[in-house]
């Protein structure tokens, strides 16, 4: 693993990976970690996530020291610690921090695959998004909840909303034309895939006249946008 920086914070679907340089003395590494996490302090605020240490073997004692640094510098709540993989929910603040890190990280580019997607770079967000809140991620975003009008989801990969999408959604923000947007109720204020701006057919406006709520997805084919129901019938 070629790591130029002594400490790199990386996000994956399981939580935060702290990648450590194995050639640097532990004490110096601690200093770098402190610097790194205190810089990302506000992103971590109150988030609950899992932490993995990678790139070097750590004793239990060393691990505890590193966790202490994270606790001292941030209000992050660590739900689990491991050297390898584990599963935990990723809160949006943490996810945003991860995005910043992964954006500078060439290895974290979303994979562009054919029909089946084996994109590891996914963020799950539990709970809805309110007006003014946003999720930005270099990979795909799965939102479990509603995205209210005035909210934003900007993803390098796909956008999946397990709820009503009423805000703005941009899939394939890096130019990936294969990205799609899917929601249980697809009525965004605005929708973009890659470079295409998508205008939805006008909906019956006004209260009392609700749009038909059908799970649907939007995708690009031959430079055109299609919106199709997810289920027949």
């Amino acid at each position: 693993m070629n790591v130029k920086q002594p400490v790199v914070l990386k996000g994956n679907r399981d939580g935060i990976a702290v990648v450590l340089d194995k050639n640097i003395p532990f004490e110096i590494l601690c200093g770098h970690l402190r610097e790194k996490v205190s810089g990302a302090k506000q992103f971590f605020e109150g988030a609950l996530t899992a932490v993995a240490f990678k790139g070097r073997a750590l004793t239990d004692d060393e691990k505890r020291k590193m966790l202490d640094i994270i606790y001292e510098e941030t209000t992050l709540e660590v739900s689990g610690v491991s050297d390898e993989n584990f599963v935990s929910a990723v809160e949006v603040e943490a996810a945003e921090a991860l995005l910043q890190e992964t954006a500078n990280d060439e290895r974290a580019e979303p994979e562009k695959n054919e029909t089946s997607i084996s994109d590891q770079n996914v963020v799950f967000h539990h709970g809805g998004l309110r007006s003014g809140q946003s999720i930005r991620h270099s990979g795909s975003v799965v939102l479990v909840g509603d995205a209210n009008p005035g909210s934003e989801i900007i993803a390098g990969g796909n956008v999946v909303v397990l709820g009503a999408l009423k805000g703005m959604a941009h899939a394939g923000s890096g130019g990936d034309c294969k990205a799609f947007i899917s929601a249980l109720v697809l009525s965004p204020t605005q929708m973009r895939i890659a470079h295409l701006f998508i205008e939805l057919p006008p909906e019956p406006k006004g209260p009392g006249r609700k749009p038909v709520k059908k799970p649907s997805y939007a995708y690009i084919q031959d430079g055109q946008v299609f919106i199709a129901p997810l289920l027949n019938n």
Binding site: R130, S131, G132, P149, P207, G208
Partner: protein, 266 residues
């Protein structure tokens, strides 16, 4: 065990000040020692709505700057002896206060009063941050308009970020006749978007305008429908389970005619 409520909305003109005045008066009528804090520095209104503008000597900034003691700045209401107002300064602006000073102020008010109500200014800038700094609960006021609901949604997000959990909603200025025709968002439409607990719905009522002009909050007016809604809201705040009233106005001309015919036919 005192509680500090902030009354906020994001959008201006939806009835924060009217709500503050009525809830404050309602709590005072119920026998609780209540203070209303006008946090809308530079654009004070609450004193006018309460009819207390000619009694103001010191204001919030005077207290914070140490020009007077807290008790000197509190204006006692003319009707209820357990109701007080801490007026805003009219000559300063929002930047004259910071959130830490507001927290300190709320702490000292908490010692004196059962309920502290903070009337928040519109917007999400400094004034909003000041107003919510010392609060432990929030009441979000909105009207059944798309723009007001959008702003309320933003405010709820900001309140949650500031760790003020479970804000309660007051839907103000509802017109049941328009809702019935499908020309106005219903209570259900609004709660579907905002998904927070509803504290009450207040009908659009002339008596509110009259009350603001005369400086007598309509919560004390037994004949006012809006007043009834605010009385219900106060009781719910005090922990009573009061069902949401049917807001349909039965005093319209057509209804009067119908009643007359019904009586005549009987």
């Amino acid at each position: 065990m005192s509680e500090v409520f902030v009354i906020t909305s994001g959008k201006g003109g939806v009835g924060k000040t009217t709500t503050s005045a009525n809830i404050g008066t309602g709590l005072a009528i119920a026998g609780y020692k209540t203070v209303m804090v006008d946090a809308d520095i530079g654009l004070r209104n609450l004193d006018v709505v309460m009819g207390l503008e000619n009694r103001i000597v010191y204001h919030l900034i005077d207290v914070i700057d140490g020009n007077c003691r807290l008790k000197q700045a509190l204006v006692k209401d003319k009707r209820y002896s357990n109701l007080f107002l801490l007026p805003a300064a009219q000559t300063k602006d929002k930047n004259a206060v910071n959130p830490e000073q507001m927290q300190k102020l709320c702490l000292s008010l908490r010692e004196e009063f059962d309920y502290v109500l903070i009337d928040c200014p519109a917007g999400i800038e400094q004034g909003f941050k000041n107003a919510i700094a010392g609060a432990d609960k929030a009441i979000v006021v909105t009207t059944p308009e798309v723009s007001a609901v959008r702003d309320a949604d933003r405010i709820i997000g900001l309140l949650e970020a500031a760790e003020i959990r479970n804000p309660m909603l007051i839907l103000n200025r509802i017109r049941p006749d328009m809702v019935k025709k499908g020309n106005m968002m219903s209570l259900e439409d609004v709660t579907e978007i905002l998904s927070i607990d509803i504290l009450g719905a207040v009908p659009d009522d002339e008596s509110i305008v009259i009350a603001a002009n005369t400086g007598e909050p309509c919560v004390a007016d037994q004949n006012s429908r809006a007043g009834q809604a605010f009385r219900d809201i106060t009781r719910r705040m005090l922990g009573e389970a009061v069902p949401l009233a049917d807001l349909t106005d039965d005093r319209g001309l057509m209804n009067k005619l119908k009643k007359i015919f019904r009586l005549g036919g009987a």
